[in-house]
């Protein structure tokens, strides 16, 4: 994908199960083959894919993919490919360790029950994905970092996660509620605090006092760290919005993920994130022929089939089903192209084997190649790579 060359960050987003992790790995492979030093951050990859990429079960450190394996899959490897698996808790713990004013404050947070809950919660994964990205970009060890994104019911979730998390940690309302214990005394909204007192006693009745102690301790520990925290979130946002980043949106040729892809694409455009391409993954290619297989029964008889007529008619039905599937997929691709009005679509065929080995990934990489084209317009003519780019503010 030409529009990704020379970028420092590629973010791969989309609805659940459409192939984000697969496409991330395949893009990383392509960029590395072309000569870049690449890191791919995968999120919960299938075990066989992780194994193929040389990612061990534990830890979130990068591991080099053996170039010999890549070359055995028929690709020349001019650069390097490192792969790693996101561990949100480990990333969060490192962030805390970096931002905490001293070891005691760090340990207090890491032990805190509310923190343990928060760092394992669904939103933390999204937040920590971009945090890990930032770490890797900062390390200077890579030309480009490809970021897979967590499965979410709503593909937009991950854009909002950093802000949600920062707001929560800031905890204005909570500080007020918990009173001087959490440093709200400074704000001095006494009237609200009176109400807060009542709220608090009810919550205490519901959950026990220990929990409130934990929450206020948690917020207290974050005092003085909040600034570093929100600076970090802002830096991450700036990186994602900068011209050195490209977003790749993945979808399948079905209405539900496609409408999520359209919503995500529009949202990215509205908020001036740099757009790369839309990948339609697992598209069933049209069977080579359009005619009816009238001679099949004869051929099958010749090949020794016991019931050539029956088998021929079942095979003809399979062909019809494949044609119908391919037509439905092509229709969906056309509708998507129309809805998006313009951005390049890359079509990846549905492969017979799950692309969980390097050889399978290489097939996806080739499909993603440089032929990102827009079938809605003029099949074959690749639009200029920067067509989809929007001005960043």
């Amino acid at each position: 994908m030409a529009m990704l060359r020379g970028r420092r960050v590629v973010v791969v987003a989309g609805a659940g199960g459409v192939g984000k992790t697969t496409v991330s790995a395949a893009l990383g492979l392509g960029l590395a083959a072309a000569g870049a030093r690449v890191a791919v951050v995968t999120i919960d990859p299938a075990r066989r894919l992780a194994t193929a990429l040389g990612i061990p079960g534990l830890g979130d450190e990068p591991h080099r993919v053996d170039p010999a394996v890549v070359e055995a899959a028929g690709m020349r490897m001019a650069g390097t490919l490192d792969a790693l698996q996101l561990d949100p808790r480990a990333t969060f713990d490192r962030l805390i360790a970096r931002e905490a004013p001293d070891d005691a404050a760090r340990d207090r947070i890491l032990r805190n029950r509310v923190y343990r809950h928060l760092s394992g919660a669904a939103g933390a994964q999204e937040f920590m994905a971009v945090e890990r990205l930032h770490e890797l970009v900062d390390s200077g060890a890579y030309d480009v970092v490809v970021l897979d994104t967590p499965p979410a019911r709503n593909a937009l979730d991950f854009l909002d996660a950093p802000e949600r998390m920062t707001r929560f940690v800031e905890g204005r309302g909570l500080r007020l509620l918990l009173g001087p214990r959490a440093g709200a005394g400074r704000t001095g909204w006494r009237a609200l605090q009176a109400g807060g007192h009542m709220v608090m006693s009810v919550v205490e009745r519901l959950t026990g006092a220990q929990l409130l102690t934990d929450i206020s301790e948690f917020l207290q520990s974050f005092d003085g760290m909040y600034q570093g925290f929100s600076n970090r979130a802002a830096a991450v946002h700036d990186l994602l919005a900068s011209d050195s980043t490209r977003f790749v949106v993945v979808t399948g040729p079905r209405p539900e993920p496609a409408s999520e892809a359209v919503a995500l694409w529009r949202r990215l455009a509205d908020e001036h994130y740099p757009l790369g391409a839309v990948v339609v993954n697992r598209v069933h290619p049209a069977p080579g022929a359009t005619g009816t297989p009238d001679g099949l029964a004869g051929l099958l008889r010749h090949a020794g089939a016991p019931d050539p007529e029956g088998l021929a008619s079942r095979a003809a039905a399979a062909l019809e089903a494949a044609q119908a599937r391919a037509a439905a997929d092509a229709h969906e691709v056309g509708a998507l192209s129309h809805a998006l009005s313009g951005p390049p679509l890359a079509i990846v065929p549905a492969l017979a084997e799950d692309p969980v080995e390097v050889a399978g990934l290489a097939q996806v990489t080739r499909a993603l190649g440089d032929d990102a084209r827009d079938p809605g317009r003029d099949a074959g003519a690749a639009p200029p790579p920067d067509q989809a780019r929007r001005q960043t503010t």
Binding site: A15, G16, G17, D44, A46, R47, R48, R113, V114, L118, A122, P151, A152, R153, F168, G171, G173, L174, L177, G195, G196, M198, V199, V202, V203, L206, T207, G208, Q210, L211, L212, I215, F218, P287, G288, A289, T290, G291, P293, D294, G295, L296, L299, L300, H302, A303, G304, A305, L311, R314, A315, A316, A317, A318, L319, A321, A322, E353, D354, V356
Partner: protein
């Protein structure tokens, strides 16, 4: 100990990875139970589930709506459940309203580990144990649970809270809920997966966790499984035809499509086996249907297939 068939348990949780078909399977199961004459409540837990896309009516949060004869649906929302819980606990309306309006209160309930799950589970328990005129209000309840991690947290909510809260009213209540959730005569979990490695391993890991925690798992459902109408010898002759120079493009394409069907079915069969082995559970199988929209007959077909599957009737190891 042999457990009763899934269809005899009052409270069924449908669990699985995101997007594998939990809502679809829960709908099919609830419809099947209602068809057998059980007064059935389908409960969606995560908001914006696709129940409405299947039945044409979105389940309301305040009172159950009847979707089909004997089949009702309700959406349980943590915020709403929290309010109801508050009004039971506080009994003072203005206070309840003040609490529900308070931003700080919402932040606390968000921060409190497991509180949202606990009130949600509490509401489900409430519905499952509701009695009118000496009879249970609902014969069967089918819960369309949130995706794996959140779904497990929901099932585990009572036990977690009991451990955290020490003694007191909330702990007693958590105990009562926990007794129902863990009761293999009353409750059963159905774990759903599609024939893909990730969904299958996630299902197996979830089942292992539930077993460890004493949650009764009843069976697995493999959803959208491709099957093939071709016999074991067919592939060989089809391959011969594919290599036959006398074959025209259409014949080649047909043989190729047939072989792809064979491969697809073999792939799915492997994953279904992995699901059964990984979970040590009987597996019910559902095909992919062309259409699930209301009136298409899709959910009715899935429902009939599911209810006829021996895996639902068996005595799953639990």
């Amino acid at each position: 100990m042999p457990s009763p068939p899934l269809t005899d348990r009052r409270l069924v949780f449908v669990l699985g990875k995101g997007g594998v078909g939990k809502t679809t399977v829960a709908a099919a199961l609830a419809l099947g139970l209602a068809d057998r004459g059980h007064r059935t409540l389908l409960i969606e837990v995560a908001a914006e589930t696709r129940t409405a896309a299947v039945f044409g009516t979105a389940p309301p949060v305040d009172a159950p709506v009847e979707l089909r004869p004997g089949l009702f649906a309700l959406s349980v929302d943590a915020e709403q459940a929290m309010q109801e819980y508050l009004s039971i606990q506080l009994k003072v309306r203005p206070l309840v309203e003040m609490m529900s309006r308070s931003r700080a209160f919402h932040q606390v309930t968000q921060a409190a580990p497991g509180l949202a799950e606990l009130v949600t589970l509490g509401k489900i328990w409430d519905l499952a144990t509701a009695v009118r005129d000496g009879r249970p209000v609902w014969d069967r309840l089918v819960v369309d649970a949130p995706a794996t991690g959140h779904g497990l947290a929901l099932l585990q909510a009572a036990a977690s809270m009991r451990d955290l809260a020490g003694s007191g009213p909330i702990s007693d209540q958590a105990d009562a809920i926990e007794r129902v959730v863990r009761h293999p005569e009353a409750t059963g979990v159905v774990v759903v997966a599609i024939p893909e490695e990730l969904a299958v391993t996630e299902a197996a890991e979830a089942v292992a966790l539930m077993r460890e925690r004493g949650v009764p798992v009843a069976c697995a459902v493999a959803n959208a499984v491709r099957t093939s109408p071709f016999g074991p010898g067919d592939a060989d002759v089809l391959r011969t035809v594919l290599g036959d120079p006398a074959a025209g493009p259409a014949e080649r394409a047909a043989a190729g499509a047939a072989l792809a069907t064979v491969d697809g079915a073999a792939h799915d069969a492997r994953e279904v086996r992995a699901l059964g082995d990984g979970c040590a559970l009987p597996v019910a199988m559902l095909p992919a249907v062309p259409d699930l929209a209301p009136g298409s007959g899709g959910v009715e077909h899935l429902s009939a297939t599911l209810m006829a599957d021996p895996a639902l009737g068996g005595t799953g190891a639990s």
